[in-house]
Structure formats: C-alpha cells, structure tokens
Homo-oligomer: 440 residues x 4
C-alpha cells in the first residue's frame, strides 16, 4: 500500500476497491459450505471475515460520516462486530460457525452495498472531511489485509479437518499459492539451502518503532518510537528448514522434557504433538496438508506451523535461543538499509529482485512469521486511542508472544520491519517459523 | 407405508422413490449453508442426513447384492456411517458440522447414483433375491423416514441459534408445516380445548408389541409380542396445552425443587430452564421459534419441546403421573379398535376424518411424542439380529425414556401404536409433549 | 435389626446405641487425615459420614421433639445436610473434602452430644410420643447402616488412590473384614466353585414388595406391594467368579464393541477400562486393592467392583442376560422359603449355618450387590411421604439401575429380599457383582 | 539469612536447623486434618510442603554426599518430588489432597530423620565437601523459605473455603501474624495514610540483577547482571490502599470493559469478580478472611490479593500504569542506598527502624508482592544450570508476570531488591498488591 494523497478521491477509491476486491478474489474458490464452517474457536468462517471487514467500514466510516446513515441490517451490527465492546454486544465468537444465514451470496450483496456507499462518500466529501475519512479508510484497508491473511490461515485449517483432503485451489496455473514453500505447496525448493550462517550485530542503543513504511502507515502498537539497549548478538541468516526440524524429531526432541518450557511440555503431552501442525505420517514418510492439497514435506523448505513452545524447545536443542523483537527489528532495519526492499513483498506476490538487493539475511520478510522471545507488551509511552478504535490492539497485550516478518499469505504492502504480530505461545495454525539467535 | 408385494418390482421401486424424494423435498428450502451447520452434538447437518440415508442403502443392499459393486466414494463409508461399529470406523459425530465437502450438490449426485442403482437392482433381481432385498429396502425406507423427522427437528434447532430468527419455510401457502400446532406454527387453534377429561381403563393381562401396522413392518425393538400385567388406570383425553404449562410456570413450577427429580433439578439449575425450549420472553409475552418463524405461544395448542424432567415435574405438580409405555399402548390399541385409524397420519400430512372415527382419546398420534414413565429396556425375549443391522436399536437400551405416538414431523406411514421412540431424559429438541395418567 | 417394641425405652436406646457405636467402631482404624479425604465427588469423607448421620437424628428427631431444642452448631445444618432441599441450603457435595474443620475429634463430641440427648428423649417421652419417635429412630438407624456401608466403600476408594497401598486394617486377627472374599480380602477361597448351575422358575403373577423382614422395616421405595407378571426363567445358582471374568478378558471382552451397550462402550473407551475397578497388573499377574491391602486376584471368589455396563457386556458374552429385579425378588423369596434365613447376614458378620438352611441358590445375600436389568423407577402406586423425609428415595428414580442382595460390607439386619439398592450404570466403587439369568 | 562461613560446621548446622524449625513452627497451629487438604490445584497441603522441602535436602544433598545412602522411603521420592522431571516420575499435582498417608506425624518423623543426617553430614564432611554441600544447603534453605511463604498462603486459602470461618491462629498475643495489615489481620492501621505522592527517577542505563543481599545468595533467575535502559519515570511512594480500591469499585471498575485487558475481562466475567479475593459483603460492609479470622476491611491498609488483571485495570482507571521490573529494581536500589535496610524484614518479623532509615519510598519490602508490568522472561545471557537443579526457575519463564518486594508472609532474610517472584496474571491467592508508576 503506497503513500496516499488524501486530496485525491480517485486514488483513495482505487486503493479501497483494490483491497476490497482482493478479499473477494481470495474467497472465490470457496463454496458456500466452505465459507460457513468454523473449525475451532480461533478460526472464523470465510463469510464472517467478508462481512466483518465490511462492518468495520460501515461502523467506523459510514456511521459517523454518511448523512442519513442507516445500517444495512441492524442485526449485522450484532453478528459481525468482532470484539469492539464499546460498539455494542457481539455474537459469541466460538459459535460463528452455527450461523447459516446470511449466506455467502447475501454477504456479497452487503459488501457491494457498503462499497458503493464508501466510494460515493469519498467522492462527495469536502477536503477536510476526506482527509479524516482517509485516515480511517487506510486503517480499514490494513484491517482488511489482516483478515485476508486470517481468511487463508483459517480456511487452511477448516479444510485440514476434512478426511477427503481437499485443496483450497488445486489449479496451480492461475494461483500464486502454488509456489509458496512456506505455505507448504508445490513445487519444492530446487536445492538444499546453504549451511546455517550467523550474521553478527554490534550492541548499542538503537531506535525501535521508527516508521519506514512507504505508506507512512503503522498500527498504534508499533510505537511510540523509543530507544532500546541491545547487547551484541548473532542472527541466523535463514529460517530453520524442515530437514533441520526432522533432525530435531529424530533426536527425540518431542520427548525430552529438559528442552521444553514447563507449560509447553504439559501442552505437548496433552495434545500428543509429534510434529508441526498439518504434518502426518504416511507410507512414504511425512506429508503435509497445504492449500493446494497434501504433499510430501520438503526438507529444503522453511519449517512452518510450529508453536512458540516448539520453537523455543528447538532453540534449546540447537544450543541457541530465539531473538528478541528488538534484535529482530534492529537486524531487519540494517538489512533494508543494505538494499533489501524487494523482499518486503510476500511470496504470494512475487517480485523479481536482483541479488544485490537482498541485503544481509535470507527469508526475513514474507516467508513465515518468526517467533521472537519477547512477550507482547506495550512500548514505553504507549497509549491506546480513545473510543472503540482504541480497542484495536492494546487490550490484547498479555500472554502473547511477538512474531515478526510477515508470511507468504500476508497481503502486498502489509509487511514492514516494525510490524508486531502476536499469538499465544500454544497456537500454530498461523504460518509461524523459526530463526535462531545467539549472544555474541 | 402400505403392505408391500415383494414380487412386484415396480411397486417396490415406487415405494423407494417416494420415500427418497420426500427427503429431497424437505431439504429443498435449505441453502447449502443451512445444510452444513451442526448446532450441537445431538443434531446433524441436513446434508449429512441426506448422505447417511443413502449410505445405508449402498451398504446394506448394494454392497451384498449388486454384482461388481464398487463404492461411490470410499471415503463416504467413513464420513456417513453413523454408528455401525461392525461396518468400520466412523467420523467423529460432534464434528459433522466441520465437513464442508462434499457439498449439498455433491450429495444430490450421490443420492441420484445410488437411487439409480437400487432401482436397477430391484428390476434385475430374481424373485428370491428381490424378496430378500425387499426386507432390507423396507427397513431402509423406515430408517430414512426416521431421518426425515430428525432432519426437521435438527434444522429447527440450527435456525433457532440464529439471531436473525430465520424461518425454514415462510411460505405457508405451499407448506404443510404452517398448520401444525405441535410444531408451533400458525395458524393458532381456533378455540380453547375442552377441560381435561380422563378415560378409564380396566386392569388385566394384555398383549404388548402386537403388530397392527398396515405395512406389516415393525422395528425389532417393538417386540417380541408378550403379555404384560397392567393395573386399572386413567389416561387424559388430550395433551397438556401451553396454557396449562403457563399455569405451571406461574405457580413457580420451574423453581420448586420438591416437584422435580433430583437429577432433573440439577440439570434445570445448570441450564437455567424457565420455559420449554424455543420459548422466549418478549414485550408481548411468550413467543416461540418455529419452522415458519417466531410467533406468539398459543395457550390452546399442545405444549411441545419439554424434557422428561419437565414433563415429570409437571405431572407431580398436577397430582398425576406419566403413563407407562404399556398403559399407553393398551389405550392406543383400544382407541384404534374404536375407529381412530384416521389419526395415524401426522399433522403435516392431514387427512380429513369424520368425528366418528376418532375413538376415545384426542391427539394420540402425530401431534407430539408423548413422554412415558418407562425407561427404554428390551422386552422379554428381545434379541438383536446378528451383524451390523443388529446395532440398529438394542445397543441404545440404557438411560433413555420411551416416547409414544409420533409427532407432526413424523413421516406418513411411520406411526403405529407399538412404536417405541426414545430419548435421554434431558433432551428436548425433539417434538415432545405431555399426556397425564393416574391410578384408577 | 429385630422387631422393636416401641413401648420399651431401654430396648429402643439399646438399638440406637448399638447402631451408633458400630459407626465409631468402623472409623476407629482411620487417622484424622484418612477421615478428611474425598477421593471423588461420589465418595464422602469418613468424618462427614459420621457427622451427617448425627445431623439426621438431630434434624428429624431432636428438632421436632426435644423441648428447648437448640442446634449443636448452626453451621452443621449447612455442612452436614446431604440433599434435603426442604431443610435448607447445603454445602457443595464435591467439596466435602476441602473442609478440615470440624475435625474427627470434634465430630466425636458432636456424636456424643446428640446420642445423649436422643437417649434422654427416648426415656422421657410419653408412650404416644415415643411411638412416633421410634418410627423415625428406626428410619435413622437404617439410614446410618446405609452410611456404614458407604463409609467402607468410600474409604476403600480413598486408600486406593494412595501409591503407598495402605490397608484400612491390616490386622486380620481382630477384623472381620479379612475373611470376606467379596471384599477382595484374604484368605482366598479354599477351592474352586462348582460349575455354574441354573435353577428354573415357573412364570406367573406374583407379589412384589411383600415385606418379610423380621424388623418389619422397609424403605418406602420397596413398596407398595403389588403383583407382577413374570415369565418362566432360569437363574444362575451362584455369582460369576473372577476366574470366569478372566476368561471374558482373555476373550477380548473389553475390546469387542458388539458385546456392549453403546453408552457403556463409549464410557469404557473414555476411561480405558481393562478390568474391574481396583485390579492392577503386576509381575505376578492380576492383583487387587482391598481393605486389608493389595493381594492377588483369586479366581474362585466372586468378581466384584464391576459397573452395570461391564456386567451387561459379560452377560452378552455368556449368551445370557441379567435378571430383572422382579425375577430376582421372586427367586430370593422362594430361596428363603426353602430355608435360607442364615444367609441374610452379610459375610462381615458371619453366622454358622447348617447346609439344610441354604436353600436353592448360592451367594444370594451379603456377598456382592447384584446388578439387575431393571432401571430404578417407582412401583405402581408409589408416593413419597410429605415433607423433607419424602426426599429420601423418590427423587432419585431416574437413570439408575437396581441392585439386589446386599454385600459383605452391609450392616447386620440390613439385608432383605425386597431391598432395592440403586446406582448409575457407570459406577463401580460399590461392591457389585454379577448373577446371570436366562429365559426358560 | 546472613553470609555463611562454610568452613564453620556449627554455623551451617545452626542456619539449617533455624530454617527447618521455622517450618514446623508455622505448621504447629494446624491439625492433621488442616494439613491434609488441598483447596485447588495451585495450593498444596501443609504436610506436603513439610515433606517436599525435606525431600529436597534428601535428594540434592544426602543422595550425592551421604555414604551408604538409602532413601527414607522409596515411595516418598514419587510422592514428594514437585516438578523435577530429571529426578523421576511425580505424583499428580492436583491430587496431592487425596493422600492421607503418610500423615502429619509421619512427616515429622521424616523431617527429624533427614535433619539428623544432614547435621551429621555437615559435621563429618571434609572442608572441600562441606563447601560444596554449603552451596546446596543454602539453596535448600532458600527453597524452604519459599515454601514457608507458600504454606501460609495455601493454608489461608484452605481455611477460606470453610463456612465456619476458622482462623489459622486466633491468639494474637503469641502470634506475629496478628499485626500484619497486608495479611488483613488486626489491628487496623492507626490512621489514614498520606495522599499518594510520586517520587521522580531520572532515566539512564543502569545495572540490573546486581546482588546486594547480605547473604550473597541469589536465585539463578535474578541474573546475570546486565545493563538496562530505563526512561525517566515516577513511582508512587506507597501501595494502593483498600480505601482507594473501594473508590475503584464504587466507580464501577469491575464492570467497565474499557479499563481491562481483554483476557482479564473474560476471566473476570467467568468468575464474577467484584472485589479482591477473600472480600465478602456483610451487613456491616466489606469484611475479609485473614489468618486470624474474618474482620472488616480497613480502608487504610494496602489492598492485597488482587490479580494482575485487576492491578492493571486499576492502573488504567487511575490514569497510571504498573512499573516495569527494571524501574522497580532501580528505585529499590536507590531506596536502600538512602538507608532503607531496616525495611528488608517482612512485617511478620518486625524490626524497629528509625525514620531516617526508611529511604524515599514507603512499603517497598515485606508488605505485599507488587505486580510489575513485566512478563517473566530470562535476562540476557541467562542459562539454567545443568541437571535437575536447573529446573528450578528457567522452565517457568512463560506467561507469568513478575512481582517484586516480598510480603508479610515472606521469611526473614528472604527479601532483596533483585528478587523476581512470578505468578500467572489471573492468580491472586498470594499476597499481591499494587504500586503505581507513570512516565515522567
């Protein structure tokens, strides 16, 4: 998402429609039945994502700015509010999969209606109002991009439950998803990665949360910008591969308590984890569920769908540790300064980059979200905005770990070095991998 | 279902197709999304019902009798087996709502395929084989009729979860469901029912399980025929109405422990029951969810969707008791002997009956399943058939209560005085009502 | 308990004190710590049993009859009411093991206080009042005898949790418990039992609930006396032995779904049952926890601590069934008529009986409670008494199975042919065994 | 605990016996029944604490150093290992309250046996061995002091369940517990505290984890010493009082979602929190359960028994925040440098201090554990020791929040500025209070 000239209504509308249409494009391969299922409380049905993102624009832009505003459907404010307590009551999250109506086609109508009204509003607004709207619109677009990623992660989980082993989209000709190794889809990596190398970084006091995104946009939780003291450290120059993970498994990594955090060990035992999520033993070795169907695990691709607990145990086994989020951000910044701009595009949206552009480190952006050793807490001086919009990030700052870097499912323009993703330590239905660090 | 001449292939095929088509007719108002949802472990998605009944014919008729038999899809044997352990593994019941594929349209294809093969098999079979097939075919048709009733009960529950209060079918012109009071749909009863009257029955030793159905068909659990000693008793001449239930509520019936079985009282407290299932308070008094939408509770209609615990507490409050299943069957038999044949058609399939045909008692058949005070145990001498078909009934004979009489959702030809329906004491998503009894 | 002359105060007091002292005798081997633990919601701490039985006399006799009545301690009415809703609120049952105070010694003081007041009341009452009191006193004594049996069953379970494998009482010289085979304690049966024989009984209409106890006492649920129609049947002449149960296990009885009720099969799988409760594999074969410690399973002794689900599966495997409670009572009556009175004493209270007294059947009384195939429902005409005492039995008449015959832990005078014990189908911490039946 | 001359056997023994005897002193008011109960999975029975601390010395000192070592009882190694996976299997933690034997008296014998052997070992060891033993002995003593605090916290919870509202020790004459306001016991604070003041601290890079304890002892998690960058901040000069907490409650603090972390809000709603743990409404206003019985909440005393969720919500309401653990440690260090040594003794062990000794801040040590905003993660360069001892701290470094300062129950010599206590955000049976911070 590039920097927006808020005085340009056409540009604003184009941005808005591009983001909105991409959601529909992602939903297109999915049947009404696919779009209805919620496979666990963490996931949401596809049609819910499509409706909720629409509700966001309706609630935070149309309601305050549209004259003679009336809700498209009053009950939608109840059904499609996710967690904004200040906006009113919400339908129970774990029960989203019990709601058959409105159906997928009705959601399409809802989307079209709100899209038309948003575009009309952009065009009819005076400059001052349009500037206000633009701020919310950009937030809404980034919000929708987050849900685009979730939509893919969630449907991957939904389809993984199904013993028929369905593919989200089997047609690799027209789908970018097929070439994503992180996603676990074909084709495999052409050759083995080089041995793991370590890049050394000096210690010092460095700025954290400094916005370098070309759109100028960041979420509130990425700031305020502040200094942090970082000791000297080394960072692995690529992600851990499935082959390395298989070594961990072969060395009994899933059965050695001394490698694990106590809580992680209990969780592993309760859930009988023996491998990353979506891996299954077969007559031909380990295979894994992907968006394009089930296929063999490729030892050369980055390991994905591991929890923080597993990532931390792996790091212990490898006599290393996970980086802090500050170390990661510092390294990412230097990586970009060294010319790594091309990598900011996730693998689903390939851009050809010359070697010289790739910087110091491999696979920093758009491959797998990388677990850090930092728990998700507010930065010094953080203050959530007033009102319902303030519920966006701050209230989740407890018992979650920060992940950095984006993944193959991340939407274009949605990756930046300051981005703080976060998930609880036990979850792994998101695309999460491992980069190691060490003290220097 | 009338008596079958098994030598007549055309008649057999016609019977089969009539039952099969009715399932599709019932599913017709439902969207693919509607057909996908499972609202609780007790219910199943519509498309699962459609597939499972098809699997039953495929497994118990095509597999043993079709030459060059091959399964339509191997995985369907896993997905659509309900509980027949001897046929192989089954997909986890509470997770049926997580399976988006095969979708509703694919199930239609599966049904068409099996239907074609069954009809071909009927026509090509020699007489001896056709007679064998006919026995299984009639069982399969009755099995499908049970699922037709479940399909309606289940979708009623699915839609009840939805805050948009959807109707299964709003068009009362073309739908028989609209005139069913037991179902809770409009129009309301024209006038208040007469005061509750009591019909007296003499005691004695009487035959139980004596088959009087015109089709000659009964499930194994309805027999063996045997004598039972029944004391003199009185049976109410109609069902308890919603108005009478409102009196029970007004007299604090849901809050007086002394009226309730201990287990029922605990269950009530845990679930905060204050009224029958589907009843909700509104500004205009009690309303209820029905297949045709939400409408006011009609005090003149039979109360429905109450658990055994509630039925038993009501009976205590009314200084009466529930009939035993033997008392009920004895009364039903005499009722029919007195000319009540017309009533054997459930309310969804109305037949005009002259008063003289109606026998001694009102609302005995096809209104609401009537809770009896008898737990569901095998009759003396009961023996389940060998093989997987033997799993049909016998293995459920513990911790369930018997209900008698059929309900408005019951399919035509599926009601008879010996029919033993059964549900656990706490369930109430089925159409279950109350008829009182007393010692004479 | 023999028939009481209610005009004889001394006899009444003696009866009362004999029952009361026996409870203390049973508690004597137990430390304060032992008496405090509740091992699962079904069990209660020893000191709770001692206090609750005291509360029963205080509440149902002292409160209405003692002049200037004052509770020993107001809070005890909350702590030691078990389930009498009409008497007031109760402390949460599953939390009884969290209450360290009052301690075991304080309960002894409570018991002594109430005992003194009861005896004084008996002595000071006029004849009419004493007759009223006597009725309640006898009920209270039978109630306490029920708890004596529960106390032993419960402490057996408490101690079974403990990896130190403690004995309730290791001293077999002074303890009757050591010679009880049903309890699983030493010494073992001297020799193998005879092959299972079958006693035939004619069918007919017979009285059920006819009181033959020498005390004249029965619980309300044993009546009203009424006729029942019983078909001809055969009853096994002894209980199933551990050796026969080992055969069932060796024939894969715990892994063959077709032998089990569906609900039982699910329960077995959830709890991984492989043997009766308290059996454990050891280097020397199956051993079992008993009140006198852990010892080898003796193939000659009756199998004990099996659930209804297991008993029913065993019967299916043996091509037989469980008797109905009416069949059992009819047989027990004829057994007594044939001279079996001596057997009415449970094995913990041995009485030497001449062979001629033993009747038709072996092990009918005082060995193991015998599961019947009858669910626990009220007899025709049953009506619970008014008031709190009416909560004694009636409100539990759902989802429980009837057991007959008494067990080794049953108190003297507490066994009779009409006695209806009841437990849910999945429980097995009580002494429950199996006697088979067949149709004739 | 003062600095140990490890060459002095008598001093070592004296230290050891002083710590060991204090545990028995704390247990002395408790009956065998009290010592048996486990009120929730987080707590442990008193006799378990007494045995586990003994097992620690037996396992980590006697086993490696005693010649001809034999365990006191093999099964104790199973029963009293808490979480040391590398030492062997452990008894299930939530079931500790089901173990009646060994009883309290047997544990006393176990303790005496191990004490005798430890003292003998100290005396007989050569200097080099004694130096090794001393390191483990001091660790064991600090370990036991942690359990002394837990013992009091746990028994407070056990007794709180009891409707008789028992006191741990009612005799305020001989018990130090009576004068602890933080514990909620009488007498009340003589007068209202001064208005909350703020002490300002400059920012900069400061050392963290620098050991200033007089014993020279720290746990591994308190280091390694490292620099941290801290911004300028203000710290409240005393703890939040119950009176201030009542204001929060009166301002609907427990019902305003916008003040709470999302996870905290969900937890509050699930558990219906309306006040700190142990507070109950009464006819005379709020009262609270304490070790000396139930007494009114004193508005002048520090609020205690609040969770992190509540502390964080309170801080939001007060327009402030919780301090980070680094801010707290920096302030504590300056506080001590300003003469606050006397305060390092918790309130249960009062030491009279001259005003001049009290430093900058009030109530920093030994009052209530103070929630910080820092999640419990390893310091840079942290490495757990090898072997089972390495399981002491490191494996719990996830999803817990750091608390600082000690509390009234903390043992003497067990408080220091670097001490990192930690609990999950939802727990509150420990003595935890609130000190506010702000950015400068």
């Amino acid at each position: 998402m590039s920097l927006i000239d808020t005085s340009n209504a056409a540009a604003l509308s184009a941005l808005y429609l591009r983001v909105r249409n991409y959601t529909e494009e992602l939903s297109e391969p999915l049947s009404p039945e696919d779009q209805t299922v919620q496979s666990m409380p963490d996931t949401s049905p596809t049609k819910w994502h499509r409706a909720h993102t629409t509700w966001f624009f309706e609630t935070f832009i149309l309601e305050p700015y549209e004259s003679n505003f009336a809700r498209y459907d009053e009950i939608y404010n109840f059904l499609f509010n996710s967690y904004y307590v200040q906006v009113g009551d919400r339908f129970s999250r774990p029960d989203r999969g019990l709601i058959s109506r409105p159906g997928a086609a009705e959601i399409a109508q809802y989307r079209a209606n709100v899209d038309g009204r948003i575009v009309a509003l952009i065009e009819s607004a005076d400059d001052a109002t349009r500037a206000e709207i633009a701020t919310l619109l950009v937030l809404g677009c980034h919000h929708e991009q987050q849900h685009q990623e979730l939509l893919l992660m969630d449907i991957k989980h939904v389809l993984s439950i199904n013993p028929t082993e369905p593919a989200y989209s089997a047609n690799s000709a027209n789908s970018a998803y097929s070439d994503s190794a992180a996603d676990g889809s074909a084709p495999t990596q052409p050759s083995a990665p080089p041995d793991l190398g370590w890049v050394e970084f000096e210690g010092g006091v460095f700025p954290i949360g400094k916005n370098h995104s070309d759109s100028g946009f960041t979420f509130d939780n990425e700031g305020p910008e502040h200094d942090a003291l970082i000791g000297p450290f080394k960072l692995a120059d690529r992600l851990i591969t499935c082959g390395e993970w298989l070594n961990f498994m072969a060395d009994d990594g899933y059965h050695r308590a001394e490698l694990w955090l106590s809580e992680g060990w209990a969780y592993r035992n309760e859930h009988n984890w023996e491998a990353p999520l979506y891996w299954h033993g077969s007559d031909h070795g380990w295979v894994m569920h992907t968006l394009t169907g089930t296929r063999p695990v490729d030892p050369n691709e980055p390991v994905c769908h591991v929890s923080f607990y597993e990532a931390d145990a792996f790091a212990s086994w490898a006599d290393a540790r996970l980086p802090t989020e500050f170390e990661w951000e510092r390294a990412a910044q230097l990586h970009i300064d060294a010319g790594a701009t091309a990598e900011l595009t996730p693998r689903l949206h390939p851009v050809v980059a010359s070697d010289s552009e790739l910087g110091l480190l491999g696979q920093m952006f758009g491959e797998c979200w990388e677990w850090t050793g930092s728990q998700y807490r507010p930065y010094p001086g953080f203050k959530a905005p007033d009102g319902a919009i303030g519920e966006y990030n701050g209230k989740f700052m407890i018992n979650q770990m920060v992940l950095r870097g984006g993944c193959a499912y991340t939407s274009e323009g949605h990756i930046r070095p300051t981005y703080r993703n976060f998930f609880p330590a036990h979850t792994r239905w998101h695309l999460s991998g491992v980069r190691l660090a060490k003290d220097s």
